[in-house]
Symmetry: C2
Subunit: 511 residues, 2 copies
Amino acid sequence: MYNDENIQKMETLKGNAVLVDGVVLNGPIINSNCGEKFIEDVYQILMTELVYKASDTNQKVCEWQDPEPLKELLDLNLKDFGEPHQKLLQLCKNAIKYSVKTSHPRFFNQLYAGMDHYSLAARFITEALNPSVYTYEVSPVFILTEEAILKKMIEFLGWEEGDGIFSPGGSISNMYALNLARYKYCPDIKEKGLSNTPRLVMFTSEECHYSMKKAAAFLGIGTENVYLVKTDDRGKMIPEELESQVQQAKKEGSVPFLVSGTAGTTVLGAFDPLDEIADVCEKHKLWFHVDASWGGSALMSRKYRKLLHGIHRADSVAWNPHKMLMAGIQCCALLVKDNSGLLTRCHSAEASYLFQQDKFYDVRFDTGDKSIQCSRRADAFKFWMMWKALGTTGLEERINRALALSRYLANEIKKRDGFELLWEPEYANTCFWYIPPAFRNMEKGVEYWIKFSKVAPTIKERMMKKGSMMIGYQPHRDKVNFFRHIVISPQVSRKDMDFVLDEIERLGRDL
Amino acid sequence: MYNDENIQKMETLKGNAVLVDGVVLNGPIINSNCGEKFIEDVYQILMTELVYKASDTNQKVCEWQDPEPLKELLDLNLKDFGEPHQKLLQLCKNAIKYSVKTSHPRFFNQLYAGMDHYSLAARFITEALNPSVYTYEVSPVFILTEEAILKKMIEFLGWEEGDGIFSPGGSISNMYALNLARYKYCPDIKEKGLSNTPRLVMFTSEECHYSMKKAAAFLGIGTENVYLVKTDDRGKMIPEELESQVQQAKKEGSVPFLVSGTAGTTVLGAFDPLDEIADVCEKHKLWFHVDASWGGSALMSRKYRKLLHGIHRADSVAWNPHKMLMAGIQCCALLVKDNSGLLTRCHSAEASYLFQQDKFYDVRFDTGDKSIQCSRRADAFKFWMMWKALGTTGLEERINRALALSRYLANEIKKRDGFELLWEPEYANTCFWYIPPAFRNMEKGVEYWIKFSKVAPTIKERMMKKGSMMIGYQPHRDKVNFFRHIVISPQVSRKDMDFVLDEIERLGRDL
């Protein structure tokens, strides 16, 4: 923009221009050709470096740099004048080079991974269209595709009807659920706030996602009013414990208003017994939310949907297709069984500049007042496009394959010396220890556990610096640091599972 | 994926495959070639239909269809099997065809518009990389570019130091501010909730964005506890009114905790007198938030930054570069003057599976606990890339030009018969009536206003159905429906301003 040629052109223009406040108002000021060329060149780079290499295991998963040297490499400083084309392309290349390749077949670190080409193409479209989804007049296509996909997701929950909205993350979906539940309990809270209400308490398992506490804090409920219900050995909420905690809370004089079951816990991938939890909710007239952000996608598999047995009894469900279904971050639905407009009544502010009631079309398609946001991205469209491309059976096959690979990995772990499977996987999470030879005959006292807890972090550091793969680790329950391995992508094969175990041994056997 | 050829290939594979639960685990199951070809073809379509046409005023801004026929045209149904390549491309073409072209030079309908090629290219990169920004290990590049851009934005606020986070929208940035303010007032609220606190009240102007009420409802404060302070004729908060309302609230026994000034109101584009509001906040020790979602970008113009005089005294600021600076939806920063870790203390949940403290790098770069989200998009990167490409002066020029164009439009409105400028524009919002000839000599009684209030909606309907441009309208204060015209894009020129007025006359003179 600010090269000499452009400045000259501008000066020439000013000669015979309409000037207001010293600004030339003739013709556009931007040189579209430069910008278009930039998009074309960046597209070639990202196709070459990312898309065509997405399944190439010879590539590194990451190119580790510590923060301070990376700051230098990225050339972060922002200046008064723009950089030239070639320099900008170099910045893009560096950004790609030093980013983690989350689409790499050996990225097993988070609850998302892989690359779905159809979703990615759809995301390019929405970025180029740059829509905001609140009114039909500015987002007709994205209002309707969202409606269509919500309807289909509701069908998979086994509900006869329902409502919903895509939100920026499962954490925010869970917040929506809390707000709906307390609004249902007492609609006055919307206007009056909580300062004169009794102490509202909610229940979820001790294995729940940390967003439950964040939600309680943010909504003014308070983290202490999130009662954590004990889980069994496999990490599933114990319904009898829930029942007794609800009774206890009532005795204390607090007001239970919501139970959140988890379908697919973050670390263990455990599924709460939803049907039995629903019984407790029904008995005590509590809002039943299911955080199925991670596990909801199992509903698409005829084989595995039984993991979520009872979900049809939920009042609300959080389900993130950007996780197991690879729809791209973010793609998160909050689904609500109520179809009487509760979502809108609870969140509306009826802004007259946006939601005019005298528009020439059916304003029921202006869905923005369901949302806590104003501008909102068209996150549903990429999932809709993927579903069109793969069909339900294609999505189902991904789930089945990912879970079969987890099963395979778990079986291999059981066969190998020095590996210990900590829980039988129910879903795509496989949790295990690698025990280096030097540890195998040591006495398991305090000293052992302190020393052993450093094994996973050290192996993690080595794999990151080598760039060969990425797997998360954490301590959890009574277990010191262990690996949590997640399989999602259809680009992963049995060989990658074998590689994981071989590589952990290579990286850690000297410890 | 599910064409005959692939199914055959799969069957052949199964012959000598490793099978677990009936699933073949050899090799990737996806045909990358098909997917890559799809991305290539979609890229060509979007370049041809969107990018190369972005400044072409011969194109329609929108291709209006009512919801029911559009549902048919889009072929929304999701099926068991995937659709073939050509059919999918057709779906993409339709999605583009029937979407509003928000980058069109005659899209003046919202507080975002236009296409920045550098931001768009950066968005393609982040979509292909599919990062989530919470830990340095998975998002090194995006953690550091976010830090760099926040630092630069903080510099433009005139703060010596500060903290911040990108959030999914100005509405959510405002929620962050409310939560920080009440946490500062009483940190116990995070754990205990609001049920035993006094009634917290906040102050903002009657011209504030509707997200203030949404935020108060969502955070359990209650919409009635949002005290709306009167504004002057130009829509600016009257500091004396604020002072007396704060005093009144204290007399009532409620606890004032926050004042939110607005820098760039939604309808009028008015800027509250921030410096004088800061005096009131200082006197009463209230958190001073500024919702500069729309107007914050004026800080980049040496000429117009005076509109935000006093912003250096704010405790927090919401500023959306996706609006006036065209960084692409969404790109929204919440900036906080506190640099002692308040943002983290207020929002942290310290999930041990994600924010392990025994990592091998400096975990202060794991910024996820500042956020109410878990997965979070890399929204800062596109703004960083734009800034690199255009430099501060390039961004400044955009602001200056947009405001000069608004000025030009306002002057033209004043010159033309049948147009009435309702407020002198301070920013990029120009609010005006078009009065068709038949109305010009009518007596201005109740009947007149009822009839006249239908003029803007009718013209809007006609412009949408013709597809020639898009401008918003609304009633506001004592004025019935009027047009609110927003200029943002550097691809807009004086000719487009003339076109707007000519076209409104063409569409409405028979009314």
